[in-house]
């Protein structure tokens, strides 16, 4: 019998009914969650989602294309400042402002991609690091950007002022839904990019640039494109982040942040969408919640404070968060190079073959 294959099956979003079912369940949970958790957690979720957008974009560059960036806080800053300035200086509606800011970030991504054509590994890391620092200091030096004092965001108005339409999101709860929808769009978009021609070309460059060239992939175009796409994601994330914080200054986007972003991608799993999501979630949770409040954990917290005071810092747990995240990173690299994504796959295999 001649069976005709349906090739759409290979690329469709929901590969099976099971996947569709769990996706619906997940969406229901995500949309009802802020109704039932305390407001502080809604704020935390907002930050997690912003970081998910950024990490998924960074993973396209680092995991899929095999390039490195230690300057993503710079694109994040361009997104945040760009969005706010477009709104305050030019009275643009939020959606337009954040898109323009993200395109500006993408343009800077393209510029940073140019030296990447000739540099690799540690050299590229240093150049991108310099880029991030430069952005931070340039912004700090311009008064129109608020200088070192920082900048306060305008009301998050989804309407169009010029038409007299106004729809202002004031609370974390309201912003949650905007960010959730943006996150879903961006994540599905990234997944689609990786499933189609451009994403495959990125992977080709990572695995063998010589072979990529002889099948017709233009290295100049695709290497810079990977930077631009990744920077676009950082720009969107930055634009949202500004409104989560309400106020920010140049040092919000410091070098450590760039490193943390990279850690998210490595810990989550290089080159997979799920990896970016899991890494961003875990690291953000650790940083903003668990490790921040570790002193309050009975016994263990007191011990950590004592250890930290004795050997690391006078002020208590300042450095603890960085150290813990560093240890996680080392552990992942040694024991599970595929990151949390690798653990997830193993767990799935285990349950699928259970109880045998």
């Amino acid at each position: 019998m001649d069976m005709k294959r349906d090739y759409y099956e290979d690329i469709q979003l929901f590969q099976s009914g099971v996947v569709l079912f769990w996706t619906v369940v997940l969406l229901l949970v995500l949309f009802t969650l802020p109704l039932v958790v305390p407001n502080y957690y809604v704020y935390l979720f907002n930050i997690i989602m912003v970081h998910i957008i950024l990490a998924v974009g960074l993973n396209i560059l680092v995991g899929s294309t095999g390039q490195i960036s230690l300057g993503h806080a710079g694109f994040f800053a361009i997104g945040a400042y760009g969005t706010v300035l477009m709104m305050t200086l030019f009275q643009l509606p939020f959606i337009l402002a954040i898109l323009i800011a993200a395109f500006i970030a993408a343009f800077f991504g393209f510029i940073l991609g140019l030296p990447a054509l000739r540099l690799e590994g540690p050299y590229l890391a240093i150049v991108s690091l310099g880029f991030g620092l430069t952005i931070m200091h340039v912004i700090g030096g311009v008064d129109a950007f608020g200088g070192r004092m920082g900048i306060k965001v305008p009301p998050l108005d989804l309407g169009i002022k010029q038409l007299g339409i106004s729809w202002i999101l004031t609370t974390d709860f309201h912003k949650y839904y905007l960010i959730l929808i943006m996150t879903i769009i961006m994540v599905v978009g990234a997944r689609n990019i990786l499933k189609t021609r451009v994403g495959r070309s990125f992977v080709a460059i990572r695995d063998s640039d010589i072979a990529a060239e002889v099948i017709g992939v233009n290295l100049t175009i695709y290497k810079t494109l990977a930077f631009a796409v990744s920077a676009f994601y950082a720009g969107i994330a930055g634009g949202l982040f500004g409104f989560v914080l309400g106020f920010f200054d140049p040092f919000t986007f410091n070098m450590i942040l760039s490193i943390i972003f990279l850690v998210m991608v490595v810990v989550g799993g290089l080159g997979t969408i799920l990896g970016g999501i899991m890494g961003a979630t875990l690291i953000t949770y650790l940083q903003y919640d668990l490790l921040k409040n570790i002193a309050e954990v009975p016994y263990f917290g007191a011990l950590m404070v004592a250890v930290s005071k004795q050997w690391f810092t006078l002020v208590g747990l300042e450095n603890f968060s960085s150290m813990a995240i560093g240890l996680i990173m080392i552990g992942i690299i040694i024991f599970e190079p595929l990151g949390m994504f690798g653990l997830w796959i193993r767990m799935k295999k285990y349950w699928m073959t259970w109880p045998f």
Binding site: D10, K195, T196, A204, A212, V214, I215
Partner: protein, 259 residues
Amino acid sequence: MDHFKVENLSISFGGLKAVNNISFSVEKNSIFSIIGPNGSGKTTIFNMISGIYKPDSGRIICDGENIVGSSPDHVARKGVARTFQNIELFSNATVMDNLLLGRHIHMKTGVFAGAFMWGRGSAAAKEEIANREIVENIIDFLDLQSVRNHYVASLPYGKRKLVELGRALALEPKILLLDEPSAGMNTEEKGDLNIWIKDIQADYQVTILLIEHDMNMIMGISDRIFAMNQGEKIVEGVAAEVQCHPEVIKAYLGEDLSC
């Protein structure tokens, strides 16, 4: 108009004349084999054709156009595809994705069209489906169904060689350069490959330049043979002419070429 030819091609690495003043012309839809001992400059000729090395002098004419100086991706767009002696695949991608990458120049989906692949009717999805169908035919042709969704890194050597051949075919090339395709294959695999190359010549209407060490295969399959040594041409002709040339016999010392 000349279909494909190289004229006075030369390149040196340091003091070494790796390829010295080589010329040949290839008939459309024929199999043209290049033989010679290791280090005689065969792969270097392929690298110059595909734009990886720029020759010091000489011309490479493809459908009447000189392609010397074109970058590899431009050469690919001109219709030249190749495989590598030491296999250059995308090892952390599946067989399917490797072959789909071979369709790169025939596809157009960019970042935005790709990102907005919402549903079966979108332009990106339509293009994917059409090209997956083409690739699926190549998978059937090369008997790769069983490893269709496997990662290339997990495949045995012989299978990888085939995936690389499939990827080159996916480009629908006018000129196909095969650099030692049978290296590392067992007798049975070599037999299959022999038949496939013949089929490719017939079904895909492609001109094949072949570098091979397996003399049985070469003598049986080639329309013309070009023998070289240390960057220089020895002789060019049909199997019988090349086989019995004294210098070819000398270069392949010890091998019985049955003259």
